[in-house]
Amino acid sequence: MSPPARFAELVAATSYSFLHGATQPADMVGHAVTLGLQGIGIADRNTVAGVVRAYDALNRMRLGTLGMMPRDDFRLLVGARLVFADGTPDIVAYPATRLGWGRLTRMLTLGNRRAEKGGCILGLGDLLRHADDLMLIVLSDCSAGPVTPAGDTILPPRRSDPGLAATLAALGPVAPTRVWLGVTMPHAGRDVRRHARLARLAAEAGVPLLATADALYAHPDDRPLHDIVTCIREGVTVHKAGRRLAANAERHLKPADEIARLFAAHPDAVGQSLALIDRIAFTLDDLRYEYPHEPVPAGWDPQSWLEHLVWQSMIDRYDGYVPDKAIALLQEEFALIRERNYAFYFLTVHDIVRFARAQDPPILCQGRGSAANSIVCYVLGITSVNPMWHDLLFSRFVSSKRDEPPDIDVDFEHERREEVMQYIYRRYGRHRAAIAATVIHYRPKSTVREVGKALGLTEDVTQRLTSTVWGSFSTRFDERRFKETGFDPDNPEIARLRDMVDRLLEFPRHLSQHVGGFVLTQGRLDEMVPIHNGAMADRTFIEWDKDDIDALGLMKVDILALGMLTCIRKAFDLMRLHGLGDHQLETIANDEHPAVYDMLCKGDSVGVFQVESRAQINMLPRLRPRKLYDLVVQVAIVRPGPIEGDMVHPYLRRRAGKEAVEYPSPSPEHGPPDELRTLLGATFGVPLFQEQAMKLAIVAADFTPDEANELRKSMATFRKVGGMDNFQAKLLGGMVRRGYEHDFAERCFKQIEGFGSYGFPESHALSFARLVYVSSWIKCFHPAVFGCAILNSQPMGFYAPAQLVRDAVEHGVEVLPIDLNASRWDNILEPSARRRGDLAIRLGFRQIDGFREDWATEMARASPFASIEDLARRAALPQRAMNLLADADAFRSIDKARRDALWDVRRTPPKQLALFAAADAPELGAEPDANLPAMPLSEEVAADYQTTRLSLKGHPMAFLRSHFAAEGILSSAQANATKDGRRAKVAGVVLVRQRPGKGNAIFVTIEDETGVTNGLMWARDFEANRRAVMASRLMVLEGVIQRSEEGVTHLMTARVQDRSDMLRLLSEDHALTPPLARVDEVLRPVLTRSPDPRTRHPRDVRVLPKSRDFH
């Protein structure tokens, strides 16, 4: 018996070979481990985007959390398969050292920068120039597809002959003893002969043969999936693809003895795979990271400079008196920072924030995230959350055991974030700063569409199937969905579609750039990771995403855009301008004024940061916030995690004292009896924050911080990894062992599970809560300022301008119409004519759809105007601008009603003829009065809505009131005054439709001239009313009034009538479409890309309840 064969597969592609590979990196590694291979080399086509996933998976396997344990000497090689545009055969390159890695990534960067987005153009020459420390496996042919060069790049000439011998000869001198010739066994009928030829070639060139399966997938069963991705790539159906598909299913991972059998004629080729591995010293652990050194002046070391800065700012922060506790805390943090060498990180963030503050006018910004809760951040002004005031139980910003980089996100005004980004590029250079990638995955809708197309199903069928997908976030395409559409799931074509869709879901589709996650390095970034061209000009991004960066422990600073900061800054500017004082975020945020909380307790929060959604408005009167920490809870509690984990009601009951707060204790020998009290005390024993859930696992079930981190990751991705059962057993076991009751442990697990990834971290909620307070404060004391600022910051927040204006009016603010002489581009404040000393909002030209800022600037320069002709002449407005102004009824101050203005505007030529200009004479002769009929008020309102999406002249419903009243339909005011349990019909224009959480309730809010009615419809009633709910702009809700004890009224809706046609009664000529709130989910389906909020668009985090769209 010969010894068992040993082999490592060194040419394995993954799903990150975008549409060339059919197995996820983690599964590829997993299968290699299962087969008992000595190692695996991950080499995707011109990219290293997938290697971190493989690396992370292997590390997790070694931790034992994935249920399989790799052998100790299992090796993972990371590299890339270089696919050349010049006809050179593919070459797989593995860096042997850190230097080699840098060469590889620089070469890939070079290729990426030459290509349009998503391509990579390389020639053999590039490799010859970058071949240092690379181990090269030359494959026998070139698999390049077409690429689009960027700009004026010239494609290298394509060689007609693959030129294997020439390639080997060219590589010989630059990479002596580092070249192998890969041989495969494709079962193509003449393999033996091919092997002989390759062996001859190799011998001539003096390079060894290396056996490989050239794997595109892990298992032969993956062939159909690979065929499908090939079809998607080629844009053909599987029936027509013919020889574009592989003839057989041989390109999978094969066990060592099978390889040994297949290559029996060339035994050395099998052994060479191990010889190559032995030459490789590099692993991704070697990407030791160096933070940029810029922020540290010469002569200082980073730690002492950081300490120096902190001590300096300390005096200002604490007004000369520094409490001992703060000093103690600081010392503790300094020690940690020194130990983990994070000083550069804090200094970098500080530097960026300092830049923003130093601008004129300063850019408002605020940090958040786990590290942002440190006193260092507070003292340096990165955040305004004082860890001394809020006795933050979980403020330990980095666990010293957890080898994870600190996390600080900084929000900037959304209109000015670009300045900050440009500063970063300026300061660190484009070769050292780039944005992280976001991996765009296959989502159900796109998957069904593309797989359906590849399988040859008509668009009709796939349309019907996708029409039932609720939201693009769901990670499974349920059988139920197929049944709903009337397709038989057992039909082979449908079954095949389902199977393929299931397998393709979660595959990466392409790389895109992250919204604001910057990666900064001290050395060249392109020697760490390849860089791509972004979609925006002058933007570059690296090919690793947040998870990869986390896994490697790289530093990332999130430079995010927050609309509310823009709004607050504009409000501060307005207050300064109108003598209402000079305000700062900090001063307001700390004043804890009861009037502000009174307002919030009433649920009066339209426009306020975070707590303005329907669900939040309903929660406010129940939660009754009285202090900042209550707002922290408020922000975090209306989230799918707490809602689905059923934590809201226990929390409210306990907070109101209706339910006893109890903290089960572990057996005395296992820990202090109050361990849970310390943990959950602030939230009355109910875990509401993500940190609490994780800490619960650590404290109560004895998880290590690493395991808790695994738990968090698994919660986000448990479908794929399937490791949740392991955790359940471990958590329950741990808690029971430590003396907790099984029931309680079970409940805890349910809560953690419900949390999934949708739990909200306290560290973020804290920062948000301050903005909630500041925006509420402005709204409470200066409603006109608030209204004006928020209108000028659009688009942002939940509501459309109509609803914001209406809210301002309800708060006693006078709102004046757009006028050619009084308005500017922005909405402005002017003294109210109604009451002395009050400010009124004058709507600006920006509210007119399609109006342009430069027109407004011209007008401001030349104003005032005496006539339409005067305006046309002196402001040189184009016809379209004039029409828009007339449509918007902006000529009242020169005594022209809308119709007359329109009539005159059409006659006015945009430019005055030179002759008339010279004579300074009016160009247009007098004309008989056209005697246009006067416009009825209802039509005025309709026309207002059409041009500015809001009307100050009246509410559309007011004109229809008599019709509805005759039918016994109530107004919102009447409905809200109706007794609990009464039946009612209410009519109104649709404000917003949402389907939060699990989707079993649909919220519909309608509005009329008296207020809003909140309708709630159960999913079972929805199907029958589907059309009406989705298509109506004006609807009648029929149902039963339900009033909660906090005074929140809902109409439990059983039937919806579409009465949109009534809007025509207002005006037959102006199609009146009442504006919907910005968060209406029918109009704007919530596109949540990934269930993991950390990889989601940071702005999505504020869309409170996880929602499903209506398609």
Binding site: H187, R464, A930, A1031
Partner: protein
């Protein structure tokens, strides 16, 4: 939609009365282009995206909108209307304008005529709105926009909405916004003011509707096909002479075609006998041609292959030649010695002529050639096509230089079962096999060439392992094992082909 119902009735068999929509792919998605009555009733509107429409009416039936076919359909309807008047104009996409001045006497009045037309079209399932007007514009506006009946045409026109003026959307909206909602409102105002704001065309349009300006309709004309004919004072009784005349006609037609840079592909000769019988001769060519000699040869082939020979009877009094299908054919170089030079190689041209000749004699579809198909499955990798069809086939796989062919010329259909002896497991060829009661000892073998089943047709199609084998006598066979040992317990072997 009625076009669809007529042309593709199978779509409508046994289907419930679900709303139907026609959709069109435009930038930004698929939008509804047209709707049936049910669809309108369900609250859908043209211009809605398909996704929205489906969300509202999940059982919506959707067909692609084919404006080209619709236009053809409208043309056919217009043809049909020639029974009423020779002067018919299209008002695309869905209207016809008929000038019935002087044509109504046959129908005893215009109303009868309209009723007749409505009836006829209703039989085809079409709903017609019609109106009479002094001018085509008025009639069109009334047909499309008229609401309630009015005592006379003038007042009816005045009641029309301003949209009936047919101005662009911007102008229409502007008029409506100004409070001028009917044509009458506009007419009541000084036309100079209208012209100053909406252009001279707007004023013209008002005048047209009011009948102040007449605009005749532009009747459509059918595109003339090429048709040449020769009438004889005396019927000619000899077929040969008739064919001679046909040749002259062909030359005449070829001249016309040459002027247009076209060549005919489908030719039809009609010999009208004096007694009223017509004899038709049709020929087709694989490539467009103007070659009279070729055509005449084809016509003679055609005559020779007729079941009943041509019988001039009392003689022909009219010979007519039509070119039913013509395609672009650019002029080619004249040969020095006269006549047009052949393009392409003589050999190729000769094959084309042979094909035309065979096709004319045997029937077009009975002359076939091989085409390559893009498939891994050997027996599906080529197919037989009518030789004259210009259907492009997949490129043939070029043989590798210096390598023996992978696949044989001759394939058995179906493959012949063989009995294999002592084959290596898992992927070796047999050492010996029996085919047609003869045992062949395998001396040499190469393979396997592994071809997996097309899983999208059926899940359990076994994989084939093909081997090229040579027996001791030097005969070469192409054999395969049907199924891997992991797929089948004892897979069978077949002989699929013989190498030359």
């Amino acid at each position: 939609m009625e076009r669809l119902r007529t042309e593709r009735p199978h779509l409508f068999v046994g289907r419930a009365e679900a709303p139907i929509a026609f959709v069109e792919s435009v930038a930004g998605g698929i939008r509804l282009k047209a709707l049936d009555r049910e669809g309108v009733r369900a609250g859908l509107t043209v211009g809605l995206t398909l996704a929205d429409a489906r969300a509202r009416v999940p059982d919506l039936d959707v067909y692609p909108h084919d404006s080209h076919a619709d236009h053809g359909w409208l043309e056919r309807l217009a043809d049909g209307c020639h029974r009423y008047t020779p002067s018919v104009a299209l008002d695309a996409p869905d209207g016809l304008v008929l000038d019935i001045a002087g044509c109504v006497h046959e129908f005893e009045g215009e109303r009868r005529l309209a009723a007749d037309l409505e009836d006829r079209l209703a039989r085809r399932g079409l709903l017609v709105r019609h109106a009479f007007g002094d001018t085509p514009d008025a009639a069109r506006a009334l047909a499309r926009f008229a609401g309630a009946p009015a005592p006379d045409e003038r007042r009816a026109v005045k009641r029309l909405p301003v949209a009936a003026l047919g101005l662009d959307d911007d102008a229409t909206t502007a008029l409506v916004r100004a409070g001028l909602k009917t044509v009458g409102d506009v007419m009541a105002r000084p036309l100079s003011g209208i012209a100053a704001r909406f252009g001279a065309e707007a004023a013209t349009m008002v005048r047209r509707l009011s009948g102040e300006v007449k605009s005749p309709i532009v009747p459509r004309r059918s595109i003339p096909k090429i048709g040449v004919e020769r009438r004889f004072a005396e019927p000619i009784a000899r077929t040969d002479y008739a064919l001679e005349v046909l040749g002259e006609l062909a030359a005449e037609a070829a001249g016309t075609l040459a002027e247009r840079h076209e060549g005919g592909r489908r030719w039809e000769a009609r010999l009208f006998r004096a007694d009223g019988l017509v004899q038709r001769l049709r020929v087709e060519t694989g490539t467009p041609t103007r070659d009279v000699a070729l055509l005449m040869r084809l016509f003679r082939e055609r005559i020779d292959s007729l079941a009943d020979p041509l019988d001039p009877g009392f003689g022909y009094d009219l010979v007519r030649l039509d070119v039913a299908l013509a395609e672009r054919l650019d002029a080619s170089q004249l040969k020095l010695e006269g006549g047009e030079a052949q393009k392409g190689s003589l050999q190729e041209e000769g094959v084309v002529q042979l094909l035309d000749q065979l096709g004319t004699r045997l029937g077009r579809t009975r002359v076939r050639r091989f085409g390559a198909r893009d498939s891994h499955i050997p027996e599906q990798a080529e197919l037989m096509l009518p030789a004259s069809d210009p259907v492009p086939t997949a490129p043939w796989v070029p043989p590798e230089k210096g390598e023996p062919p992978l696949r044989p010329i001759y394939l058995f259909d179906p493959p012949q079962p063989i009995e294999s002896m002592a084959a290596e497991v898992p992927d070796g060829p047999p050492h010996r096999f029996r085919w047609r009661r003869t045992v062949h000892d395998v001396a040499r073998a190469e393979g396997p060439e592994r071809i997996a089943g097309e899983w999208w047709r059926r899940e359990d199609i076994p994989t084939r392992d093909y081997f090229r084998v040579e027996d001791r006598k030097g005969r070469r066979f192409w054999i395969f094992r049907h199924g891997l040992y992991s797929e089948r317990e004892s897979p069978r072997w077949y002989l699929h082909g013989l190498f030359a």
